[in-house]
């Protein structure tokens, strides 16, 4: 990204000096006027829909009452935050969000890379195309549909997972996976992997095709087999892409999805299923405790920003690709 910026700047400098000769100052100003007029609605839009809600963060430091509004509610300082962090439920919610976020990140990254590498080794063009197209399919299904599918395949009565596991003698009788807290995080992780592996592999596949073919040829001459070519050429070639996507996804680690946990999370598993977003919805909006809900939202934003800055710094230290 840094390179793009530099390129743009140098291009701008070249163009500016050209422009001086080419067009009169008057025309330049007229051009700018149109651009400025065009950008005014965009500035207003951003302020209303993105920055005014940030002003709503004030609620987290108040005892917000609808009748008093944001500006006249009682100021309570950090009281909402201390309340939040002494709440056992919220501490569990943080743990659940982080655990599912990390499982999603690791499974998502590893499986997408694995799939991209394996697909790249398929020689039959038609089979490769077919597998690739099918692998994108679940990405386009709505989260509600995917949640319904999870219910179906894990069902105790006719669910295919139970049937297969019993047939293979792995379990003696049907298990109610959705009622067992110990399975919940993995169900969410595997479902997300089912949905997004194909989609996430797009960028890795593109990165593999840009690896210099000479490297593979050189490896063949040295007598390398398929596996050692994957290990010594493909994976090192993917390293910059993997790192930059990891940095971006680490910042997103708290966005663990919502539908699966919200709909699958029944009373039996709620100690492991509730995430920060569900907490905001249930205790913030549902119980009209807007101040507490906002405080939880701020906590989530703050952690995300810290995570992305830290992972970016780590990448910089290692002398690798970084975002900013």
């Amino acid at each position: 990204m840094g390179d793009i910026m530099k390129e743009q700047q140098s291009a701008a400098v070249v163009r500016l000096s050209k422009d001086k000769h080419r067009s009169s100052l008057k025309k330049q100003l007229k051009n700018q006027r149109t651009l400025i007029l065009l950008s005014i609605p965009f500035v207003i839009y951003a302020i209303i829909f993105c920055y005014i809600p940030l002003g709503g963060w004030l609620m987290a430091f108040e005892k917000y009452k609808a009748k008093d509004g944001i500006f006249h509610s009682k100021w309570v300082g950090l009281q909402n935050f201390t309340k939040l962090f002494s709440d056992d439920i919220f501490l569990k919610v943080i743990r659940n969000t982080l655990a599912m976020g990390i499982i999603n990140l690791v499974l998502g990254t590893v499986l997408a890379i694995l799939f991209a590498v394996l697909l790249n080794e398929v020689r039959l063009i038609l089979a490769k195309k077919f597998v690739q197209t099918v692998s994108y399919l679940p990405h386009f299904l709505s989260p509600i549909i995917v949640t319904g599918i999870v219910f179906d395949v894990l069902s105790m009565e006719h669910g295919i997972i139970n049937q297969v596991l019993i047939a293979l003698h792995i379990i003696p009788k049907a298990v109610n996976f959705l009622a067992e807290p110990k399975y919940f995080w993995w169900i969410v992780g595997l479902t997300n992997a089912w949905k997004e592996t194909g989609w996430n592999s797009i960028i890795y596949l593109a990165a593999i095709t840009s690896i210099n073919p000479d490297l593979y040829e050189a490896a063949s001459i040295d007598g390398a087999g398929r596996l050692s070519k994957i290990w010594h050429v493909t994976l090192p070639g993917l390293k910059p892409t993997i790192l930059i996507l990891l940095i971006m996804n680490v910042g997103n680690v708290l966005n663990v999805g919502f539908e699966l946990q919200y709909i699958l999370g029944n009373g039996l598993v709620q100690s492991v299923s509730q995430t920060i977003d569900i907490y905001v919805l249930k205790y913030g909006i549902g119980q009209n405790n807007f101040s507490l809900g906002t405080a939880a939202g701020i906590f989530k934003s703050a952690v995300s920003i810290i995570l992305i800055v830290v992972s970016n710094q780590v990448a910089k230290r290692l002398g690798e690709e970084h975002l900013f």
Partner: protein
């Protein structure tokens, strides 16, 4: 040397076989649940409760589809969903492209500031509660426009689009400028037509998002039944399936051949069919689009 490279060693063959098995298993895991849903959607509802339906219906019927398509809430939801997908995609693509164009103009004085104003929104947002209050104050709750206006400008799509516009030779718009064309002419006559691949990508992303939305319907328009969406209706169906009491009740009320589970299967097929038919044809565009952005969703 070429011949040596193409000759298959036993190790290569073993690798190909194992790779083939792994990818075949993956395909089965991906496709089986979907094909099973299709089979159940064509099967008699009460019969399906006995289980044992895998890839093919046992008692074939159209009843589930007829029930779904005759439900008045489903028809309302379908109309709302089509409207929000069409209006939302067109407006968002146009507006986002215009912003990308403005920010692609290197001579623009406030380019950096405006760009930053939007890039920040990718990382920080007010959160659910302040946003809900804002929409209430703006009169966007219990309104169709809550589906269209708040998501109109996407910073991510704008970046993808701007990267693409920056790759278009500057000489094209420069020569138009010499001919006296204004920004609107350049945008509509030169930039937009050349951006079709990336526009296809952005439109697909937006359309899929709009088509699959339900949370906004639940959070902002819960009180307005005439603003429900397909996925929100599907979620209500899903909840009634998981609730056994509801199952018994619906079965008594209905003709005894459809169940919430079989209706849900039919509704799943109906609501996902349009996108599943469309995406294979747009594949080369979104693959290119994702690679242009150099970043993913």
């Amino acid at each position: 040397m070429k011949i040596k490279m193409n000759r298959k060693t036993p190790g290569d063959i073993a690798f190909d076989v194992i790779n083939g098995i792994i990818l075949t298993l993956y395909m089965i895991v991906l496709l089986y649940p979907l094909l099973n849903t299709v089979a159940i959607s064509f099967n008699d509802g009460t019969d399906a409760l006995r289980g044992g339906i895998y890839l093919w219906p046992r008692m074939f019927t159209w009843k589930n589809y007829i029930t779904v398509l005759q439900k008045s809430t489903m028809i309302t939801a379908a109309k709302v969903t089509v409207a929000r997908t069409v209006i939302g995609t067109l407006s968002s693509t146009l507006v986002t492209s215009l912003l990308a164009y403005v920010l692609s103009r290197r001579e623009f004085l406030f380019r950096r500031q405006l760009s930053l104003l939007y890039v920040i929104t990718m990382y920080v947002n007010g959160g659910l509660v302040p946003i809900l209050l804002l929409y209430k104050n703006l009169g966007l709750t219990n309104s169709f426009w809550v589906y269209i206006i708040p998501g109109m400008v996407s910073a991510f799509n704008m970046l993808v689009m701007r990267t693409y516009i920056n790759g278009i030779p500057a000489s094209l718009s420069e020569s138009a400028e010499i001919d006296g064309a204004g920004h609107m002419t350049i945008f509509f006559k030169i930039i937009l037509p050349l951006c079709m691949p990336v526009i296809a990508t952005i439109s697909l992303f937006t359309a899929v998002y709009q088509w699959n939305s339900w949370f906004d319907a639940m959070l902002y328009n819960r009180m307005s039944d005439n603003l429900t969406t397909l996925q929100y209706e599907l979620m209500k169906l899903l909840n009634s399936v998981t609730n056994n009491n509801a199952t018994a009740e619906t079965m008594k009320n209905s003709t005894g051949q459809v169940t919430p589970a079989s209706i849900r299967a039919a509704a799943t097929v109906v609501t996902s069919l349009p996108i599943l038919c469309l995406y294979p044809f747009l594949q080369r565009y979104f693959v290119a689009g994702l690679t242009i952005g150099g970043v993913k969703e």
